[in-house]
């Protein structure tokens, strides 16, 4: 039972460091790559907690599609060489972020400070798939309509006319 715990701490450290790097680096491309690393770390944590399908979907969709889309956005706007990075409210933003973290941490520690979690329940893909196509089939179809609408909307917004 010690091995998953060690893996978790390593992955948590990796994810935390890359998350902080993502929002503090002054290079836009580095920020997108930091996001990719952070999301891979989160996906590994998902798999560690038994959510194998969600972890793999996370790598496929976020790292494979979303980060590449960000890269396209950065490259096509030419901001990789002419960066516009931060505004002048960094200090205040850091203060707000720390305050948010303190409030969240206080809430977590007071509600779940003594509870333990194990890594013993797995959610195999067959289980998720069965639930998705029986009980959750209506939201599933709604999401497919949403994706179609987003596709059409993105084309309408971005086309040259």
């Amino acid at each position: 039972m010690i091995l998953p715990e060690i893996s978790f701490w390593m992955l948590a450290a990796f994810t935390a460091v890359t998350s902080i790097f993502t929002v503090t680096t002054r290079n836009v491309v580095h920020s997108a790559l930091g996001l990719a690393a952070s999301l891979i770390g989160a996906a590994a944590i998902f798999i560690l907690f038994g959510a194998e399908f969600v972890g793999l979907a996370q790598i496929l969709i976020y790292v494979g599609a979303v980060v590449i889309l960000f890269m396209f956005g950065i490259m096509l706007t030419g901001t990789a060489i002419r960066p516009v990075v931060d505004n002048d409210q960094r200090g205040m933003a850091a203060l707000v972020a720390v305050a948010v973290f303190i409030v969240l941490a206080a809430g977590i520690l007071s509600s779940y400070g003594h509870k333990k979690v194990n890594f013993d329940v797995a959610f195999p893909t067959v289980l998720i798939g069965r639930a998705l196509f029986t009980k959750w089939v209506l939201p599933f179809e709604a999401v497919s309509i949403l994706l179609l609408a987003a596709l059409v909307g993105a084309i309408v917004l971005a086309r040259r006319d």
């Binding site: 994810t15 976020y62 956005g73 941490a105 999401v143 993105a154």
Partner: protein, 99 residues
């Protein structure tokens, strides 16, 4: 393992996202920070799925991932439109909805 550890990691990621949204000027970097916040929410869902031995958290996390993909597509399209019309991606320069 204490369940507070992954929840605190999620809180840290969320705070990073809050900082990014507040401090960044670049439209794409703003979206990147929003992605961090959404992933923090997903970490919470997966951890509670394990804690409560219920697959609901997994299902909701999947839906969140799908909705995020739609959100990012529209977001990048808006940034591209912005760049084409105003030659800037700095969101601080946008003070009017219509001009």
């Amino acid at each position: 393992m204490p369940v507070a550890a992954p929840l605190l990691l999620s809180a840290l990621m969320f705070s990073c996202g809050v900082y990014g949204v507040l401090a960044r000027r670049h439209g794409v970097m703003l979206l990147i920070a929003v992605e961090l916040m959404i992933t923090a929410a997903n970490v919470n869902l997966i951890v509670f799925s394990q804690l409560l031995r219920d697959q609901l958290g997994n299902i909701v996390a999947l839906f969140i991932i799908a909705v995020t993909a739609a959100e990012v597509g529209i977001g990048i399209a808006i940034v591209m439109l912005l760049y084409r019309q105003r030659s800037t991606v700095a969101v601080d320069d946008l003070r009017l909805m219509k001009w």
